[in-house]
């Protein structure tokens, strides 16, 4: 009948607690009540006995035993007081032990020797004791009766409360208490049902074991996930942070209870993460490129906090960038092929028209141009990677109808191995592409490339005659997302350049006028970069 273990548990606990407390209370009550009653019987009995012993009716009844009228008076008085103080019996004995008055008529006239009444009859003592001398075990209070004239003891009055009567009194009261207790017990059971229900509501109807399982699972999941996960409460305090999050962020301590601001200063506040929409954005955390998602935690429409997940995308971005470059080269080569095909059509046309001289001149010009540039590149730029990049870009420039020339003073030997292809591709590819793109719309678009490695540094310089860059934009030029091109997914080019340059320990200089822009890159030849820490 009980659906859940939790209910059973709570019911058992509450019931046993109530039962225990009630039993304890009842025991204490019974004991104190009984003791009180005994005490009261002693006190009231003794008072009554003393009072009766002074009464003339009692004295007369004892002194004039033969007088029927006096005996009747005595009976009446005894009965009245007996009722008033709830005594079980009041017995009057004369000095010889004859019973003169007793609620039990059959006792009247009998002799009961003074055993428990000894102190009263001999020493005139007033006292109360437990005695079963007269009518069963009782609290008996005794007082001596003196006669008026000679001050002799003439009898003893005994006021008694039967122990069994006292017990019955207690018993009756306990019975009532037991009914009340049962009512309380029923109430307790009802409340425990409600409590269990309420707890189950709070725990989505899960049993404690299930919750424990969920918790274990959650810990295992959190530990096994590569994504960083941080949960925050309404006030933005961290309530949970998994191992991956700590290792990505390079945090050693737990950080639980800290403000999320101390880790992600630029995060939109928890309140802003409203609605059930997941918001993603990219950000940099100590040189790491993170993709961060924020998701609000809601319970029945009330914001309870937020869950922030993030991935370290540094490596992935590099891969994507490289892929992007490679695709561009293939595009560039296609352009070159296309360009060449056009020229071949031209030559073929000239030959068919019989204009052999024209054809030969065209071929020679073409050879010259490529030979001159190619020759120059092959002679002065010794590094194979840079050569490859330049050849590719030459084709692209030619297709874009932009003049692309290599400065005559350029001179570049083989570059050290640690200046990897990736970095060079990123730096030169992006810079040249940017230059080509800004000058593409110019009627006389012109881009010049210069490279030199005479001194300590390798210097690359790119100048264009584009529209230049606004001074206030130079600062933001290398930030991620900066782009003059309005397409999405862009805006990482120059940022990547700066990242690559910095990682090689180099610097970038930008000077821009209305006539154009010159971007210079200085990369130290020696492998100091290894000691330099990237800011």
């Amino acid at each position: 009948m009980l659906k859940s273990k939790l209910q059973k548990k709570i019911l058992l606990m509450v019931t046993s607690l109530i039962l225990f407390l009630m039993t304890l209370m009842l025991i204490v009550f019974v004991i104190t009540d009984y003791l009180n009653l005994l005490d009261r019987s002693h006190t009231v009995g003794l008072q009554t006995a003393k009072m009766l012993s002074y009464m003339d009716t009692v004295k007369d009844g004892l002194e004039e035993k033969g007088d029927v009228e006096k005996a009747g008076d005595l009976e009446a008085v005894i009965e009245r007081y007996s009722n008033q103080v709830d005594a079980t019996f009041i017995v009057v004995q004369d000095k010889a032990g004859h019973i003169l008055a007793s609620p039990d008529d059959s006792q009247i006239g009998k002799v009961i020797p003074f055993e428990d009444g000894y102190k009263a009859i001999v020493f005139g003592a007033n006292y109360s004791m437990l005695s079963s001398e007269i009518i069963g075990p009782s609290v008996s209070s005794k007082a001596p009766i003196y006669n008026e004239e000679e001050n002799q003891i003439i009898g003893v009055v005994t006021v008694g409360y039967l122990i069994s009567d006292l017990r019955e009194n207690v018993h009756n009261r306990v019975e009532k208490l037991i009914y009340i207790s049962l009512l309380i017990l029923a109430l307790g059971i009802y409340i425990s049902f409600r409590l269990a229900k309420s707890i189950r509501k709070d725990t989505f109807g899960l049993e404690p074991e299930q919750i424990a399982n969920f918790y274990m699972e959650r810990r295992a999941i959190l530990a096994s996930i590569d994504e960083g996960i941080i949960a925050v409460n309404q006030s933005g305090k961290i309530t949970l942070i998994n191992t991956a999050a700590r290792s990505i962020l390079g945090i050693r301590t737990n950080r639980k209870g800290d403000d999320i601001e101390t880790i992600f200063p630029n995060l939109p506040s928890v309140a802003e993460l409203n609605g059930s929409v997941t918001q993603s954005f990219e950000m940099v955390y100590s040189a790491k490129r993170l993709v961060v998602s924020g998701m609000p935690l809601q319970l029945e429409g009330v914001q309870k906090g937020a869950l922030i997940t993030f991935r370290d995308t540094t490596e992935m971005v590099e891969v994507v960038n490289t892929l992007y470059e490679v695709r561009k080269y293939s595009d560039d080569l296609r352009a070159q092929t296309h360009e060449f095909t056009n020229k071949l059509y031209l030559i073929s046309g000239l030959l068919q028209l019989g204009k052999y001289e024209e054809a030969v001149r065209t071929i020679q010009t073409e050879i010259n141009v490529s030979d001159n540039t190619n020759q120059f590149i092959l002679e002065n730029i010794k590094d194979a990677h840079v050569q490859a990049i330049l050849f590719g870009k030459l084709g692209k420039a030619s297709e874009m109808k932009v003049g692309f020339e290599i400065d005559d003073n350029s001179s570049l030997g083989s570059l050290p191995k640690w200046l990897g292809t990736g970095a060079l591709t990123v730096i030169l590819g992006n810079l040249i592409d940017n230059a080509l793109e800004v000058t593409a719309n110019h009627s006389e678009g012109h881009v010049s490339f210069f490279a030199l490695d005479f001194g300590e540094d390798v210097i690359f310089e790119l100048s264009d005659n584009g529209h230049g860059i606004q001074t206030d934009q130079i600062d933001t030029l290398f930030q991620k997302g900066y782009s003059t091109k309005s397409k999405t997914g862009r805006g990482f080019g120059l940022a990547n350049v700066q990242q690559a340059v910095r990682s090689l320990g180099g610097t970038i200089q930008v000077s821009s006028t209305e006539e154009g822009t010159i971007i210079s890159v200085y990369i130290p030849k020696h492998a100091e970069h290894e000691e330099r820490e990237v800011k």
Partner: protein
């Protein structure tokens, strides 16, 4: 935190120490008593207790034992109960005469007071209890008397004062019990004072009376009635012809002592003061003369001894009173 508590406790202790040493200085013997002393006689003027109190007051003053003036006040009623109740609410400058009634009142349900609530200061005197028969009585000796009582306990009227349960009564019951008398049937007539008992005996209203030797010896010597037994351990000098209960076959010595009781919670210095004062008093000639004149015996015990004595007495009385005559 612990340190602070420690320091606080220490300073508290120091303050307490300072206070208590101050108190000790104040309560030096030279400072007690500081004011007039009250001496309670828990009886009407003219009785034995009143006489004792006034005699003690006189000696303490005349012998310069106590400097402060001392007033005897009478608080009669309830077998001493009234006086002792009064004492229980007073300070150390009050004291009262006490006797075995202090114990028996409680045992007989007539008082809630016990000696433990007070400061017993001294036991001073004791006297012996006599049983006397009227002239012309058929009973020549105590044994004759007891034999008759054994045959018919109600046949003899016994005079007693001022109430059942006092030493006179208890000693007679104890003797009777030893002879196998059904003491529940004994016919005691309770009189207001020893004088009334004497008158009754002389007038023949009672057959037997039990009273202090100091009260009865004169009449006995004068031949007005006859003392048949005394509760002393041996025959008395002034009554050489009277046998003790022991001689009559009852192993009983029953002193009727009187002492001095102080209020509750007296300091050791105050107790020491009285130990010294009473110790000095019982050595004086006038004290000895007083004992002589009243037929009392010296029974001096100091505060500690008295406390011990009261404890024994209480046990003795408890046994005597609680032991029913039929329960042998």
């Amino acid at each position: 935190m612990k340190k602070i508590v420690g320091v606080a406790a220490l300073s508290f202790a120091l303050i307490l120490g300072a206070c208590s040493s101050d108190n000790a200085g104040e309560k030096d013997d030279s400072d007690f008593p500081k004011k007039n002393l009250e001496f309670i006689a828990p009886a009407t003027p003219g009785g034995g207790w009143d006489a004792t109190a006034r005699a003690i007051q006189k000696i303490l003053k005349e012998e310069d034992i106590v400097d402060q003036s001392m007033t005897v006040i009478n608080k009669p009623g309830g077998n001493g109960e009234v006086g002792w109740q009064y004492l229980s609410k007073k300070d150390a400058h009050t004291m009262a005469i006490d006797s075995s009634l202090l114990i028996t009142n409680n045992l007989l349900g007539q008082s809630d007071l016990t000696y433990e609530e007070f400061t017993p200061l001294a036991t001073l005197t004791t006297e012996w209890i006599s049983v006397a028969v009227k002239n012309g009585s058929p009973y020549e000796t105590a044994t004759d008397l007891m034999e008759q009582l054994k045959k018919d306990p109600a046949s003899i009227k016994i005079g007693i004062a001022p109430g059942l349960g006092n030493n006179d009564h208890l000693s007679f019951v104890k003797a009777a019990k030893t002879f196998g008398v059904d003491v529940t049937k004994l016919n005691f007539l309770v009189y207001e004072s020893g004088g009334d008992v004497m008158t009754s005996l002389l007038g023949g209203h009672v057959d037997v009376a039990t009273m202090a030797v100091s009260e009865s010896s004169e009449q006995h010597l004068a031949g007005k009635f006859k003392i048949v037994a005394i509760s002393a351990d041996e025959r008395l000098e002034e009554l050489p012809d009277v046998p003790t209960w022991k001689e009559e076959g009852v192993d009983m010595v029953f002193p009727h002592w009187r002492g001095i009781l102080g209020p509750p919670d007296m300091t050791e210095d105050e107790i020491a003061y009285w130990n010294e004062a009473f110790g000095e008093m019982v050595e004086t000639d006038s004290w000895k003369e007083l004992l002589e004149n009243n037929g009392w015996e010296d029974f001096y015990q100091d505060s500690t001894e008295t406390t011990e004595f009261l404890k024994e007495q209480k046990e003795m009385y408890t046994e005597l009173i609680d032991e029913s005559g039929l329960q042998k």
